[in-house]
């Protein structure tokens, strides 16, 4: 039986090789996959998030931890899928049309994955049609829109309007974020939530899905 605390440490320290090897070993010895995720991996990412919030660590450490988490998840996911285990929620994320910045969006996507959600990353410069198609085909619970430029921020509004027109707005929660975006702006364009950074995005999605399970 491997020392699973080491999985927690490996993810916390961003050591993707150690994380993958402990995960493999644990799965080979028939450790319950959901236990790995819920008892070690998610708590490790939560601790990384806490350190980020308290400024003890920064973007590079966050990304290394997220990559270690992702590597382990890729080993575990096929087992969960084979059993039909559903994720805590599905989030479609993308940088809105006209905006090519994706580092911030990638960070949010990684942290959401680290938080136990399945993330459908639609990339950068994503048209409203792509968001709509994802909602229709992938059973999405939350749509996360990112914009890094003041000039592309209004596209968040037009994307939300397009969801309404396509009749899928009620099926999902919409959250927005990005450097120029404010809480007031989020409210003004009819988003359901706003997150200041990747860490608060995770707690926001958790809170939303706990409060009101989406049908």
């Amino acid at each position: 039986m491997p020392d699973l605390q080491k999985l927690y440490d490996a993810i916390l320290n961003g050591d993707n090789k150690a994380a993958a090897s402990i995960t493999k070993e644990a799965l080979a010895q028939a450790v319950e996959p959901m236990d790995l995720v819920n008892k070690y991996m998610i708590p490790a990412m939560d601790e990384v998030g806490r350190r980020f919030e308290s400024e003890d660590c920064f973007v590079p450490e966050l990304l290394l931890s997220a990559r270690a988490m992702k590597g382990s998840l890729e080993l575990i996911r096929p087992l969960l899928a084979a059993r039909g285990t559903e994720p805590a929620g599905r989030v479609a994320i993308g940088t809105v049309q006209g905006d090519l910045h994706d580092i911030g969006k990638n960070l949010v996507a990684s942290m959401l994955e680290g938080g136990g959600f399945e993330v459908v990353d639609l990339g950068a410069d994503v048209s409203p049609e792509k968001f709509i198609a994802a909602i229709q085909s992938r059973r999405i619970d939350v749509v996360a829109l990112s914009a890094l430029l003041t000039v592309t921020m209004p596209t968040m509004k037009t994307t939300i309007e397009a969801l309404t027109l396509a009749g899928v707005r009620q099926k999902v929660k919409v959250i927005v974020g990005g450097a120029p975006v404010t809480k007031e702006y989020a409210k003004q364009i009819g988003a359901d939530g706003f997150a200041e950074n990747a860490i608060s995005a995770v707690s926001l999605v958790r809170k939303m899905l706990a409060e009101q399970p989406v049908a």
């Binding site: 920064f58 973007v59 580092i103 990638n106 410069d125 592309t152």
Partner: protein, 503 residues
């Protein structure tokens, strides 16, 4: 209602009277205070402190400033409309503007010429005697467009979303017209030699806004201008009254947001004629990087942000009175050099780079950027200190520049050791300590390769006055503009460059 209100502005000691309820933004802007977010109450950079009197708190201020800050009297100038007498301390200071006094080779001509460096933040113009090459007068001012946003993207936003293109054009044409009028005082009348030509350089957004070209293409993917070549006007087209109606040339851009200020930098450093691999780095409100030889130059703009000018740093300020410009370690303590023999009030870009370099050397800053110890603060000279957030801002800024250099060199198939010379343009390049810049991993070249080059934009604009037949098409054909964030390895390289070298 019409009772005038007395406002005393510290530390200038100036007293002004305005009508009750006048927006403080208008009053302060005329006195050189900048509004980086365009006065939208987002950036907190126009902070003022109420020293005496009363200034009511606006709702927006309650969400942006902490209760402690509000209690101490901090307000945002962009929201304030004083109705009774107040004494205010303005957190920003006057700006030092870099002109150019270098000597250069030229072919003598006739009459007078005017060179203008149209910066996002500042405007500098020089009047030249084209027969002697002598500078007859210098004039500078802040770019009045700054009331509508500090950086180029907020100008584009103002032009596109708030229908402000014509307003920005009128601002800048008016301001340069006034600069030129100042320069020509004493050089008018029948005796004075005629003005032969006027050359203006600036980044692509400044080019478009001055020339009356729609900036909409610069607001959306792929952020490429559709018309960015040489633009020629007559002075009268611009509403300027100059004897002889001299031609006004706005030099061509290089691609994307990289404009004729960098093209002028090539002329000033003769980079486009160089056999050896050389670089030009300009870190201003907008950062630009170019590397290459006479055969091929690659250039890009970076999202370095304003950290190197003291922006987004909690006690950051421009290089002016009270700013820490240098930090060194001696006898187990820190020595800070402060501009103007004053007590320290803040820190400018060169001081920040020094402080972090010293901090890394002595363990006050860890290579991953962390400030050890429970307070997460790095005290320099009281009351000036760096916060953990300040170090993070520097990591983002220096990571962007270092990543830009690496990506451009990789595209050229070169390594840093192949580079024979790196010109650092602008005020920051003049003040920065090269050893410190290398220590923090901003510019990884030996000191003797790096050369502070001054205001190369203005120098290049002057050179262009003497050589009206520069083959811009030939230069532009050899320059390739790249979008750094579109590089498949950008994220990897950028994140990798956010850390500091271990030794």
């Amino acid at each position: 209602m019409d009772q005038p209100v007395r406002i005393r502005l510290e530390p200038l000691g100036e007293v002004i009277e305005v009508a009750s309820g006048t927006p403080l933004k208008d009053v302060l802007f005329l006195r050189g205070v900048e509004f980086p977010c365009g006065g939208h109450g987002r950036c907190k950079r126009c902070r003022i402190k109420v020293l005496a009197g009363n200034l009511p708190i606006a709702a927006a201020e309650e969400s942006l400033l902490s209760p402690g800050e509000l209690a101490e009297g901090w307000r945002l100038a962009c929201h304030a409309r004083p109705e009774t007498a107040v004494t205010l301390e303005v957190a920003q200071w006057e700006t030092a503007i870099l002109a150019d006094d270098s000597t250069f080779d030229f072919t003598p001509g006739e009459g007078l010429g005017i060179a203008v460096d149209l910066g996002t933040t500042t405007l500098v113009a020089q009047l030249l005697d084209l027969s002697t090459g002598r500078t007859l007068a210098v004039s500078s001012t802040l770019n009045p467009q700054a009331t509508c946003g500090a950086d180029i993207m907020s100008r584009v936003q103002y032009a596109v979303l708030e229908n402000g293109q014509h307003r920005l054009e009128a601002f800048i044409r008016g301001a340069i017209g006034r600069l030129i009028r100042n320069l020509l005082q004493g050089w008018t009348g029948p005796e004075a030699p005629p003005v032969r030509r006027i050359t203006i350089v600036g980044n692509t957004v400044m080019h478009h806004l001055f020339c009356g070209i729609d900036v909409t293409p610069l607001s959306r993917v792929p952020f490429e201008p559709v018309r960015d070549g040489l633009e020629v006007f007559r002075a009268t087209d611009l509403g300027w009254e100059i004897a002889g109606d001299a031609p006004v040339n706005f030099l061509p851009c290089l691609g994307g947001f990289v404009g004729s200020d960098i093209l002028a930098g090539f002329l000033a450093t003769r980079m486009q004629e160089s056999d050896a691999l050389v670089g030009l780095i300009d870190l201003g409100t907008n950062g630009e990087i170019a590397f290459g030889t006479r055969d091929r130059i690659i250039c890009a703009s970076t999202a370095a942000g304003p950290a190197f000018e003291g922006g987004l740093i909690s006690m950051g300020m421009r290089a002016s009175t009270g700013a820490i410009t240098e930090v060194t370690a001696s006898d187990g303590g820190l020595q800070c050099r402060v501009i103007g023999n004053a007590s320290p009030r803040g820190i400018c870009g060169s001081g920040l780079v020094d402080a972090v370099a010293v901090g890394l050397e002595h363990g006050y800053v860890q290579p991953n950027g962390r400030l050890p110890g429970p307070s997460h603060r790095f005290p320099l000279c009281p009351p000036v200190e760096l916060t953990q957030g300040d170090i993070r801002q520097l990591q983002l800024a220096k990571g962007a520049v270092a990543a830009g250099i690496r990506i451009i060199l990789a595209r050229l198939g070169a390594s840093p050791s192949d580079v024979q010379r790196v010109y650092l343009a602008g005020a920051f390049g003049n003040y920065i300590n090269r050893t410190s810049a290398r220590r923090i991993g901003l510019i990884d070249f030996p000191n003797d390769v790096v050369e502070p080059a001054g205001n190369t934009a203005l120098l290049g604009a002057k050179l262009a006055l003497f050589t009206p037949d520069i083959d811009f098409a030939s230069i532009r054909a050899r320059v390739q503009h790249i979008v750094l964030s579109a590089d498949p390895n950008f994220e990897e390289i950028y994140v990798g460059e956010m850390g500091f070298p271990t030794a």
